[in-house]
């Protein structure tokens, strides 16, 4: 019955935790023990990791004999498999541990076991053999889509746009069309401030552009910190934004630093979530996040699909950045100034945190706030409307963190906040690496709290 040709990759569906898995171990004297497992996690084609939650008989036996046999069931066909395993080591931090911890939080909350389930470690095993029981098997329904084809379309879309904002909008639209992902967003990393800020979203009532999440918090923050995909198949309050992340921001005293004025756009009751880091080499560019009000919407294959797409996003973002930085600035575009009309609008800037208010309404703060203030100040002083990305990059007053700063993402954020909150001032692209400030009403600038400006 032993079928050594069964590959672990072919039975990953069994490891999604739909049908409980069981593990058998033996003590040194040959006394067997069997227990339910919370998680059998796919590591790579030759390894799985089991969740270590309690020091129990299983743990004692594994440490003594290094052997275990796990029984898993295919939740679609009902096929039963047994994996002979050899224990290698335990990890209690890092990407694998965090992936399993997040998954466990979802399982715990789904089964009402929040107080009981705590991941102490990820026990990594080599798969020695996979055996299939000859149980009757249901026919698997046709796959809803070809993931490879979806990946191909999404990646092709990334190369189509010349600007970051268009590229990200196209991406989220492609994810919906080709992967059926209805609720998604892209966040960019600001490692200096230890946070991620939303630059694009799709499928929410409010865009939430500008909202921020601390690196290390929630599904998105942990994916960014560990540079690994994090996904949850069930509602998990521990990883929810509304309670946990807000509480953490306050606890860390970050409410003055991080963006808390712009509400997080996410679903109120997400049941499935996945966050995949966008990397360029080892550098963290941001996070692609998707969620659903239904359970178990993102499996191993979806994770692989999104990870493939995000690796292309990383490259595409870097290419856009360097193209913008190397843009030809000598060729000034013709000015297209419109005469401001109507009553003046008060734009108030608070120097302490670069927060900007349009009349009484909050617009933005931080780096994007500082950029906006620079633009409107120069407009007020010199009637200047044409700007380049490069001059922003070089302006010490903006305190852009370093050369790796993703200025283009800040501009997208600012541009979108203006569209939502300040329709009479717009940022319009006027060429590669350059843009134009379009002002439709007279501006009255008020600087608060900094005499030097």
């Amino acid at each position: 019955m032993s079928a050594p040709d069964i590959s672990l990759d072919a039975i990953r569906t069994c490891l999604e935790g739909v049908i409980p898995s069981w593990v058998a171990t033996c003590s040194r004297d040959g006394t067997p023990n069997v227990t339910l497992l919370s998680q059998v996690h796919y590591v790579d084609p030759r390894h799985v990791a089991l969740s270590y939650q309690f020091f129990n008989k299983t743990r004692e036996n594994v440490l003594a004999t290094a052997r275990a046999t796990v029984q898993v069931v295919d939740p679609v066909t009902g096929a039963v498999y047994r994996l002979s395993l050899q224990y290698l080591r335990t990890e209690s931090e890092g990407p694998l541990f965090e992936s399993m911890k997040a998954k466990l939080a979802g399982i715990a909350s789904h089964t009402g076991m929040e107080a009981v389930f705590r991941l102490l470690g990820s026990d990594i095993y080599r798969v020695l053999d996979i055996e299939r029981a000859p149980s009757g098997r249901l026919a698997a329904p046709a796959a809803p889509r070809s993931l490879l084809n979806a990946i191909r379309h999404c990646c092709a879309g990334l190369g189509a746009g010349a600007e970051l904002d268009g590229m990200l909008d196209r991406l989220l639209s492609d994810l919906q069309m080709h992967l059926g992902i209805e609720h998604s967003m892209v966040l960019m990393a600001d490692e200096t401030r230890g946070c991620l800020f939303t630059v694009a979203s799709r499928g929410y009532d409010a865009s939430g552009v500008g909202s921020e999440i601390p690196i290390g918090q929630g599904v998105i923050g942990v994916a960014a910190r560990e540079r690994t995909p994090i996904r949850i198949a069930h509602m998990a309050t521990e990883y929810g934004y509304s309670r946990a992340v807000r509480a953490r921001i306050n606890q860390l005293g970050l409410s003055g630093i991080l963006e808390t004025e712009i509400p997080w756009p996410g679903l109120t009751e997400p049941h499935s979530q996945i966050a995949v880091p966008i990397l360029a080499g080892q550098r963290l560019i941001g996070v692609l996040f998707a969620e659903s009000p239904k359970d178990m919407q993102f499996g191993y294959d979806d994770e692989d699909a999104l990870a493939t797409i995000t690796s292309q996003i990383g490259t595409a973002v870097l290419a856009l950045q360097s193209a913008a930085a190397a843009a030809d600035e000598s060729r000034a575009p013709p000015p297209a100034r419109t005469q401001p009309q109507g009553p003046p609008v008060a734009i108030r800037r608070y120097a302490a945190d670069d927060s900007v208010f349009i009349e009484q309404d909050y617009l933005i703060k931080g780096v994007a706030g500082a950029i906006f203030w620079k633009l409107v100040s120069e407009y007020a002083r010199e009637q200047r409307t044409e700007f380049t990305n490069r001059e922003l990059r070089l302006d010490p007053a903006l305190r852009l963190p370093d050369v790796s700063e993703n200025l283009e993402a800040r501009l997208v954020l600012l541009e979108r906040r203006l569209v939502e909150r300040c329709p009479f001032v717009r940022i319009e692209k006027s060429g590669r690496g350059r843009f134009r400030l379009a002002v439709k009403r007279p501006l009255k600038l008020v600087n608060v709290g900094d005499a030097s400006d």
């Binding site: 040959g30 055996e131 029981a133 149980s135 009757g136 098997r137 249901l138």
Partner: protein, 161 residues
């Protein structure tokens, strides 16, 4: 002398209530084996348990039990998570008796009903437990230890039965 335990009425009712049953033994080289049981019957005195296992589905498990007599069996209610493990050292493989067939027929249907509460489709359960005629053997043993394995702080505690 290994301890002998006698299961009371409540325990017997639980074991025979359409629970999920997973059985393990130990191989020659110390490697564990496991498989599902398709039902269970506690003999009238409450000191012996018969488990029904499809040999073609888990030949290693049956071979290990036949060779070593060692057995561990976990009984778990999917809708309540109540879980109990029994162990024995001298399990034997026997042919099915008429009384076994009667308890078998009810088990899968009760099990399907229990699993339906947690959302598992009946067809899936039937697929997992579909077997060829004559595949089942009875594994009989006298439990010498019982443990609670209901998730929580008491998990793993020995039950004083």
């Amino acid at each position: 002398m290994p301890q002998r335990i006698r299961l009371d009425r409540d325990h017997i009712a639980f074991l025979e209530s359409g629970v999920s049953i997973v059985v393990a033994s130990c191989g020659d080289g110390g490697g564990p084996s496991l498989g599902f049981a398709h039902g269970c019957r506690v003999l009238p005195r409450g000191d012996r348990v018969r488990l029904f296992i499809a040999e073609p589905h888990c030949p290693t498990l049956i071979a290990d039990i036949r060779r070593s007599g060692r057995i561990a069996a976990v009984f778990s209610r999917p809708d309540s998570n109540k879980t109990m493990q029994l162990k024995g050292v001298a399990a034997e493989i026997r042919a099915l008796a008429a009384a076994d067939s009667r308890s078998l027929s009810g088990h899968i249907e009760d099990f399907i009903a229990n699993l339906a509460i947690v959302g598992t489709p009946p067809d899936l359960v039937r697929a997992v437990f579909s077997i060829e005629k004559g595949a089942l053997v009875a594994v009989e043993f006298a439990p010498n230890a019982a443990f609670s394995q209901t998730p929580g702080p008491m998990a793993g505690d020995r039950l004083s039965i």
